[in-house]
Symmetry: C2
Subunit: 458 residues, 2 copies
């Protein structure tokens, strides 16, 4: 019996319409990356499990898709692991390879493996799918694309400035209004130091990260629950209540953190980045947000997060600076800073707001009818000329009824249909029908080409 | 201890240089696909194993990369399969998903699953990687790209004509000289019928497929070994020895096969396709090759194969017509015809012949030097203007020695370096250095922009 076909949960097919929309997003991001001098690399979908394991925490290890070894994969397996149902350790024997979980770890591996071929500072971008065995839900998939740009081998804060400018440019082109939130890990460390609990930096940041959701009183309650003193919590309040313009906020932070060396360094870095980006201006709204903590264990300096202003959705881009990208692969001291565009969420935002420019969905500009062998031969000759002018065109492959052929063109959104029948052939003309107005004219090839307008030149 | 990083055998990293070359190939193919009215889809990397198994023969099943189930994958496993080392059946219990092996089976699955949304005839293209657990060797990888274009839901031979024209156009643009070999499965059936051994069609085609390699005498010997009579082998000889122009060959075939109905149909189809493609002309050499049999069990009409004329390598593109693409998924009667470009072999051919056009490797057109905070701020303002003109540019992120900055630009092949020092700032000028001639001029921003030439307009 025939199988009813389906795809694994959390994965998606993309139709031609969806592909043109996605290509518009990827193309926009790619163009901006190039404009800023980032260069593309690609890494294999499969990495050695030894490359991936232990890089994403215990939970991450479980979310890796592992690939069963080929051939006699049971040879040499420790049968006790089967008896004891130790699936985690057994998996490491059954599988040598896994699907990449993000683009950062493969990039770190790439940098170490190819360090002798790379010119540093290395500005790379990478647009590829990643796979996670997460529970699928709205907006969360098991296969999704990441679009990463990183600079490694440079400590300069100019890199942060360029990355922020790139974020601004991408969303300006996509017409998505955004807020860019900025923070610095050193400011978080300074805060923890200031309130007398430097060892509680994780607890503190996890708690204050929720301030938007639960409010300051609940955050304070949580901090006391986590063992902070009333005094510490009291000292935290003015920092969390900072407001005013960007410059006022930076000035306030500077004052509040002046007794912490690390905190002051963080404020200085923040100021340099803010000044740099102000130099050339920004379309996006820029916020300083000391509660921003994403990936705390990973970032060591600047922290960046982007939210769409007009759609309720999580962050659509994020990034930051990390001081030791490649240490785990044996190459210490490689500092870097990077951003990652969440293509699938950006896609959701564009769909919600219907922000696609006109015309990206059209594939073919003109379809030629097919009323028989002679007519088709005549059409093919004209089609060749049009294609040489860069006009995307096709001929209806079968000799079908006019209505059926028109319906085909219409359902694909083809703007013009070129009709070639006996009359047209005898007069060396084609009848060009404008599918949106219904208007039709009998024209020479040259006149038709002029009307259709080449989208691309040859 | 740090791990020495590596990637799984048979997989590859692609450097920025390699990526620009590969993007040139994919871009060329994609543009031609669009020009001919094909529309892109994408399917997930992972398919249900039930979709993939049994579609590529027993050998193919072994070459599928299977993905270990997440969570408690041992639950419900038949432990006897472990005892008896029945790795094949056990794998089906340990794994529900596999990586796609080609683009054809996922496409068939797509057509059936989305048949109510699709406008037929459906002209789709798909450019995605596929994975095979093959033994890696020169030119054979475990992860490689396929670029497929298919038309389903149309019996018209115009589709063959369009696909052949598309092949010609792709290789014309890539400047690779090719021969396109044509055959028809019905001609092969006619030959088998004619020599009195219709049931031996597979043996016959397998044997005559080797004629180029081992010569006609050895082919005949093999056929006799496979149980054909001397008489049959004698009747085969004139067919294998057909020569002359394309038209002469078709005429000879018509005569030789006139007693076989299926053979005559095959010749008629071949003639229609040849006449159609001759109508608009072809840059490629066109050959009729009755020994061409690729994927015999799959193709039911036209068979297409492309070889590079100037490099010894296997076929770089292939395709043909199949009558029942989707039957296995419960939708009978969907005829189609398609071609597949072997991107990785095409890449090898272009590398061997060094056929890349100039300029595809440059990312950045101008690098700005960085001699300090003020100079960098000034550079950023000019960079913004240049980027608004579509000029790809970057600033050296660190305040380093001139020589180091120049070396960076040079090693990336950057054509221009813009130097901004105190003199330039005081005169509101930039010094533009042409990296290939060494020449440098002090210029206004506008003059510099005019020299660098925008690659893209905004």
């Amino acid at each position: 019996m025939a199988q009813k076909p389906s795809i694994p949960k959390g994965t998606r097919d993309f139709s031609p319409l969806e592909m043109s929309r996605r290509n518009y997003i990827f193309g926009t991001i790619r163009n901006v990356f190039s404009l800023y001098g980032f260069r593309q690399i690609e890494t294999p979908a499969m990495e050695n499990l030894s490359t991936l394991m232990g890089k994403y925490g215990e939970e991450g290890d479980k979310l890796l898709f592992k690939i069963l070894n080929s051939g006699d994969y049971l040879r040499g397996i420790d049968r006790n692991l089967i008896e004891s149902n130790d699936t985690a350790r057994l998996a490491s024997q059954l599988c040598e390879k896994g699907l990449r979980y993000d683009l950062t770890v493969p990039f770190a591996r790439y940098v170490v493996q190819h360090r002798n071929e790379i010119t540093f500072p290395f500005k790379r971008y990478q647009i590829q799918p990643v796979w996670r065995a997460d529970r699928p839900q709205k907006g969360r998939y098991r296969e999704f694309y990441q679009c990463d740009a990183d600079v490694v081998g440079s400590d300069s804060l100019l890199n942060e400035v360029e990355l922020l400018s790139m974020i601004d440019e991408v969303f300006r082109r996509l017409k998505i209004r955004i807020a860019i939130k900025l923070n610095n890990r050193k400011i978080l460390a300074g805060i923890a130091e200031l309130i007398g609990a430097p060892e509680k930096i994780v607890d503190i940041t996890v708690a204050i990260d929720k301030i938007d959701k639960i409010g300051i009183e609940n955050v304070n309650a949580e901090l006391i629950e986590r063992g902070l003193s009333e005094e510490s919590v009291g000292a935290l309040r003015p920092i969390l209540e900072i407001d005013g313009t960007i410059e006022e906020r930076v000035n306030s932070l500077e004052k509040l953190l002046e007794k912490s060396e690390v905190g002051s360094n963080g404020v200085r870095e923040l100021r340099t980045v803010v000044n740099g980006i102000m130099e050339t201006g920004l379309d996006a709204r820029l916020d300083i947000d000391v509660s921003l903590a994403r990936g705390l264990n990973y970032y060591t300096g600047t922290i960046i997060e982007v939210k769409a202003l007009d759609v309720e959705i999580g962050s659509i881009t994020g990034g930051g600076r990390y001081d030791n990208l490649t240490g785990v692969f044996g190459l210490p001291g490689v500092s870097g800073v990077g951003i990652s565009f969440g293509a699938d969420r950006i896609y959701d935002v564009l769909n919600t707001l219907n922000l696609y420019p006109e015309g990206i969905e059209h594939c073919v500009q003109v379809m030629f009818t097919n009323f028989g062998e002679k007519e088709a031969a005549c059409a093919l000759r004209i089609i060749k000329k049009m294609r040489d002018c860069g006009i995307q065109c096709e001929i209806y492959p079968d000799t079908a009824k006019m209505q059926k052929q028109m319906k085909y063109a219409d359902s694909l959104g083809t703007p013009y249909v070129a009709i070639i029948g006996e009359t047209e052939m005898s007069q060396n003309r084609i009848t060009l029908k404008n599918m949106s107005t219904g208007e039709q004219q009998m024209l020479t090839e040259e006149e038709a080409i002029a009307i259709i307008n080449p989208a691309t030149s040859i």
